[in-house]
């Protein structure tokens, strides 16, 4: 019976700033409170107006603290943005001759070796996700600690981004007198809660399509093989509608949510939608099919660009469990079918799995990333008095051994 921990995830998103307070006990995760506020000052997943964004974060934290009856002191911070890139890399460490067994320290050395890989000067590493270990060339090693060998190698998936752009949300949090426990790529966080271990094993593509960005993660055989961020999201759909129909942005957003459909041919010929008069906006009538076409073109293009990026590597081909679509945009009617058409694979519209607590929170795809942050926190925090750090992280990202990683 482990002790329970309170973990907090903070997502400074483009549509909303969201704080999730959860209780972690052993493998269980229970959502206690969610503090949310419409975001202002964030575009395409990144802060463009610092003061505004900071106020939103302050507010969201306050709401979460009230609802959860907790005092928040540190958070797991989600980051994203078009500048994030990734690649696979093999790190290496040689075990000194006088020693026969591989130790914990060696694993850390291998990882350190991987982190020394050359990055563009402006970039910094966000994650080095362990994929596989090799001992003296032997493949398929799960946990090399204790094994005999002299050469230890490991494949890593290295995720990196522009340092200054990652600093912004961190600074925001620090200025509110909070500690940043860790910085996590939002897409990775989503993947952690949206996939169960058999999905990871079979291989899967997770797409978290939010307002600002579309984050994607590909798992193959239980490990992360490919990831990235395309800075196109729901805001682009809204913007397209606003410009196409010449209506104010806010109205366009509502129209998208209330009437939008990603598929074509679903309306009767000449079917129209009546937009009522409002202050500052004279009423109009628009064709439903026109609205849907604007949406369709944008979403289809986004999926196609995504597919193009993914096809630069072979991993999508091995995503046996198919595509898992989450994030606010996944709520748009028809988007699942559209994604199926583009990717030619089964698409599951999904949300955070295997969590308990406030149902309305975890059953909503908009919160996948934020909930994923606490999931990540659960694994990381588990190293205090639990299995080793490396082991936990490895298990978490690989979803192995029957645990709910």
């Amino acid at each position: 019976m482990g002790k329970e921990q309170i973990l907090v995830g903070l997502e400074v998103g483009t549509a909303k700033v969201c704080v999730v307070v959860a209780e972690a006990r052993d493998d269980l995760l229970k959502i206690l409170a969610v503090g949310e506020i419409p975001s202002s000052g964030v575009r395409k997943g990144e802060i463009v107006d610092f003061d505004n964004a900071k106020e939103c974060v302050r507010e969201a934290l306050s709401i979460a603290e009230d609802r959860g009856d907790v005092q928040i002191e540190n958070v797991f911070l989600g980051v994203t943005g078009g500048h994030v890139q990734s690649f696979n890399y093999r790190g290496r460490a040689d075990i000194p001759q006088d020693r026969d067994e591989i130790e914990e320290q060696d694993l850390e050395d291998v990882e350190a070796n991987a982190r020394e890989v050359s990055l563009p000067p402006s970039n910094t590493i966000l994650h080095t996700v362990t994929q596989h270990y090799y001992v003296d060339g032997q493949e398929g090693v799960v946990n090399p600690v204790g094994m005999s060998g002299h050469r230890l190698e490991a494949d890593f998936h290295v995720i990196h981004g522009v340092a200054t752009r990652i600093q912004n949300p961190i600074r925001c949090v620090k200025e509110l007198n909070l500690e940043v426990e860790d910085v996590v790529l939002s897409g990775l966080a989503s993947a952690l809660v949206v996939l169960d271990h058999s999905d990871k094993k079979m291989g899967a593509l997770v797409i978290d399509m939010g307002a600002g960005t579309t984050d994607y993660i590909v798992y193959n055989d239980g490990v992360v093989k490919q990831s990235g961020v395309l800075a196109v999201g729901g805001d682009h759909v809204t913007n397209d509608i606003a410009m196409g129909l010449r209506i104010p942005s806010q109205r366009a957003g509502r129209l998208k949510e209330e009437e939008g459909n990603a598929l074509l041919g679903n309306s009767l010929p000449g079917e129209t939608i009546v937009l009522r008069d409002e202050p500052g906006f004279a009423g109009r009538e628009i064709e439903r099919e026109t609205l849907n076409t604007i949406i369709h073109l944008r979403l289809r293009e986004t999926f196609e660009f995504l597919k193009r990026r993914l096809e630069k590597e072979p991993f999508l081909h091995y995503a046996g469990a198919g595509v898992f679509l989450t994030g606010g945009c996944s709520l748009l009617p028809g988007i699942g079918s559209l994604a199926e058409e583009v990717f030619g694979m089964p698409v599951t519209l999904t949300h955070a799995q295997n969590v308990s607590g406030i149902t309305s929170a975890f059953q909503n795809p908009r919160y996948s990333a934020a909930i994923g942050l606490v999931k990540y926190g659960q694994a990381v925090a588990g190293d205090r008095g639990g299995p080793s750090f490396i082991e936990t992280i490895t298990r978490l990202f690989r979803g192995r051994a029957g645990r709910n990683a």
Binding site: R43, S122, D235, D240, F305
Partner: protein, 473 residues
């Protein structure tokens, strides 16, 4: 994303730097050479050719050749290319001597007037006959200089294209973009001259420098060569922390690249990177990755990499390319009347009227850039996932066209391909492209404060329906 194999880097090319000569023809040509000397070109490589003795004597080049002594009596060709040509014919022997014995010859001239337009083509032909790789760099007159000069320039351009391996054009109209609005006229001209001299250096460098990664000559020429094409050139140089990135940024700012937008249309882009021994692989990879966003996935990217001890601490980048209707590209024109669509290349675009004067015997026209690397219309940035060959239905309904993302190239048009200089016969199915409406005036709306999302040469912040030419009624 370019990945540079360590083995590739380890291979050092032992070729000698190539010998080249620059011939400045006419007044404008002489100005460029004077500028080049300031920029450190060895004077021995430069020669000025002119009918006007006054201009010749003022030049700093060592080698000066007066042509057409009898024809013009030292007074210049008076803006008449026929006179310029006669002068060149009169001095043919001397011109031949001036261009022989070197493997690479650059002919630099300002087109539109007399000597440059008249003599440059002949000089280029001589160089070609002497077996040299011949590259012409020319300026085209301002629009305000009038129809006649423009016509003369075009005629000369056509003749040059027939006998040069490659022609790089600099439009004077764009000169304003090379300097700030408040700069003096002198500065503006000087900036253009500098650009040309950098282009020469870059091309000579690509061709001859012992490089770690060499670009094949034929690849370079194929990249630069398109009939009736606009050549693009950008140059940047920098030191400091983020030097490769900064050098690229400067190069992309070149007006000749239209801030990088024109690259999206190019079928091949040549990037020549040069740095000191301290140049790091990571720097290059990072910058090339970013640069990759400015070009189409189908664009062939040729990277030349050289290390020059003299450049320690600094990095320079030259970007060369061309866009334009390729020779005989078999493309079915999507019939969207209002939409600016590059139509199948007619044998000759409107401005290429063959001037009657060409009775002279041919140089066999240089080998057309045969099978372009990609079979379809290279300048047409095709829709995502569009396959080669666009023999699909020119769908009548705009929507169907907008949706046919699959073979029919649904031109997601990037905002700024420019119209070739004054379209004369601008009627109907003109093979030249119509001017695109610039998107600058339209606000970026929600994306005002953030940097554009560039992917595959397109700005994704621009609504998809606009880029796909879907019309909203």
């Amino acid at each position: 994303m370019i990945s540079l194999e360590p083995e590739t880097l380890a291979r050092i090319d032992r070729m000698e730097p190539v010998e080249f000569r620059v011939i400045g023809v006419g007044g404008a040509g002489a100005n460029v050479l004077d500028r080049a000397v300031l920029d450190g070109f060895a004077k021995e490589r430069l020669a000025v050719v002119n009918t006007d003795v006054q201009s010749l004597s003022a030049s700093v080049a060592l080698d000066k050749l007066q042509i057409g002594r009898e024809v013009t009596r030292g007074l210049g060709a008076g803006g008449d290319p026929d006179l310029g040509e006669e002068a060149a014919i009169e001095s043919e022997a001397e011109l031949s001597k001036a261009v022989e014995g070197v493997p690479l010859v650059f002919v630099v001239a300002g087109l539109g007037g007399g000597t440059g337009s008249g003599a440059a083509p002949l000089i280029a032909r001589k160089a070609r006959e002497a077996g040299a790789l011949t590259v012409a760099l020319v300026t085209l007159p301002f629009s305000f200089e009038g129809r006649r000069r423009a016509d003369q320039a075009e005629a000369a351009l056509e003749r040059l294209e027939a006998c040069c391996h490659s022609v790089v054009c600099f439009e004077n109209d764009r000169m304003g973009e090379t300097v700030s609005a408040r700069a003096g006229v002198h500065e503006a001209f000087a900036a253009t001259d500098r650009l040309i001299s950098e282009a020469i250096r870059a091309i000579a460098g690509i061709v001859g420098r012992p490089g770690l990664i060499r670009i094949g000559l034929d690849e370079l020429l194929a990249a630069l060569r398109h009939r009736g094409a606009r050549c693009l050139f950008g140059f940047g140089e920098s030191g400091g922390d983020n030097r490769v990135h900064d050098a690229f940024a400067e190069a992309l700012r070149s007006p000749l690249l239209d801030r990088g937008r024109m690259l999206a249309d190019a079928s091949a882009v040549v990037v020549s990177l040069s740095g000191g021994p301290d140049l790091r692989l990571a720097e290059i990879e990072g910058a090339m990755g970013e640069f990759g966003r400015h070009i189409n996935d189908r664009t062939q990217l040729l990277l030349g990499l050289g290390v020059d001890p003299a450049q320690a601490g600094r990095v320079s980048v030259a970007i060369l390319s061309s866009v334009g209707a390729p020779v005989a590209a078999p493309v079915a024109a999507p019939e969207r009347a209002p939409a600016p669509a590059p139509v199948a290349a007619a044998p000759s675009p409107p401005r290429r009227k063959r001037p009657p004067a060409i009775a002279r015997e041919p140089l066999a026209p240089p080998p057309a850039p045969s099978p372009e690397p990609e079979p379809e219309e290279p300048v047409l940035p095709e829709a995502i996932g569009a396959e080669a060959g666009s023999d699909e239905s020119p769908a009548p309904a705009p929507l169907a066209a907008a949706l046919s993302l699959d073979p029919a190239p649904l031109a997601p048009v990037p905002p700024a391909p420019r119209v070739p200089p004054p379209a004369k016969s601008s009627e109907k199915a003109a093979p030249a492209r119509q001017e695109e409406m610039q998107f600058e005036p339209i606000s970026r709306g929600r994306f005002e404060k953030s940097e554009p999302t560039l992917e595959g040469g397109q700005d994704l912040d621009v609504p998809t329906f606009l880029r796909r030419n879907f019309r909203i009624r």
